[in-house]
Amino acid sequence: MRRITELAVILSLVLGVSVLLVLAASILLPGIEVRQLAFFYLYTTINPWFQNYTVNSPEAVTAIVWDYRGLDTLFETSVFYLALIAGLALARGLFSETPQGSFNEKTHGLTTIVKTVTRVTAPMIIAVGASIGLHGHLTPGGGFQGGATIAVIPLVFIVVYSTLFLIARGVTSNKMLVLRSIGLLGIGFTSIAAFLIGLAIGRFAYVFQNMPKPGAVVGLPADINGALISGTLWFFNLFEMIAVAAGFTIAFIILLLAGRGGSGGR
């Protein structure tokens, strides 16, 4: 009874604040002149008649994240990387407690039904994640979304099959760190790709340049053989997907592999 009363009080408070906000919206909402920037982004994100400013990507969010505001996303990725490095440094003593022994299908993990369902759904989840990541410049989604979706798989496998299975299959934190570093190097090289091309052919080009701009005619191709890749966006999404999936896997391995109770699902 007490819970219901509390809940009713909270809900009525929320409703009251909502009413206040609705009343205040007529004054507080920003006017139309604030939205000029949004108008510019949406107008130029794919615009064949405006070749000097377009990104050639129908997905405005990915275009903003990796082209208009690419540097912000680069720093976001490096923050995630630093957090992982800090996690690895904190957990450095725990790896000596990693469970030893070989994986046994009969004694480790959950029941056969769960294992079979996991085995069937795992390729599907990876396919969905890859399509979210690699179609990030065409449909909603992108590298982080695809990588986070793929990262569900190692977690599910640790819970359903036990950690020894992952070790037996060679999914270790060091290998994942290598994969993550490959992803980050790829992001770094993609960000200076146009600049390097400019250096090679002796033309002026910007760092983080995607399409040709006024005064900097170097640019990456918008499509390969008619398939739209939007210049750097496809490569950014690919490498970010690899980096995020490997990064989350490292986090799970740190959290779940080491220490007592690490052999989950037993």
Binding site: L11, A251, F252
Partner: protein
Amino acid sequence: MNVYAETIVYLIMAVVSLLSVVAVYLAIVERDLIKAVIYSALQSGFYAVLYYLLMAPDIVLVYLPVAVGLIPGVLIVLISKTERWEKE
């Protein structure tokens, strides 16, 4: 007709956000931490619906795996390493 459709969408949004408040309340008062994690995932599911109705499919795609898949999974494993019941 168009106006009615818009009103219905706003109505669904209002109901879903109130339900998410209920889920948050249940997650806070629950003493069983596993149940609290499940209520929290429920709240995330309601938020994902809100994001979808607010026309932010990119956020939905990152919010669903992280808030319904990864965080409850990690939290449940961490709870399994400590105690299941919250003390007074």
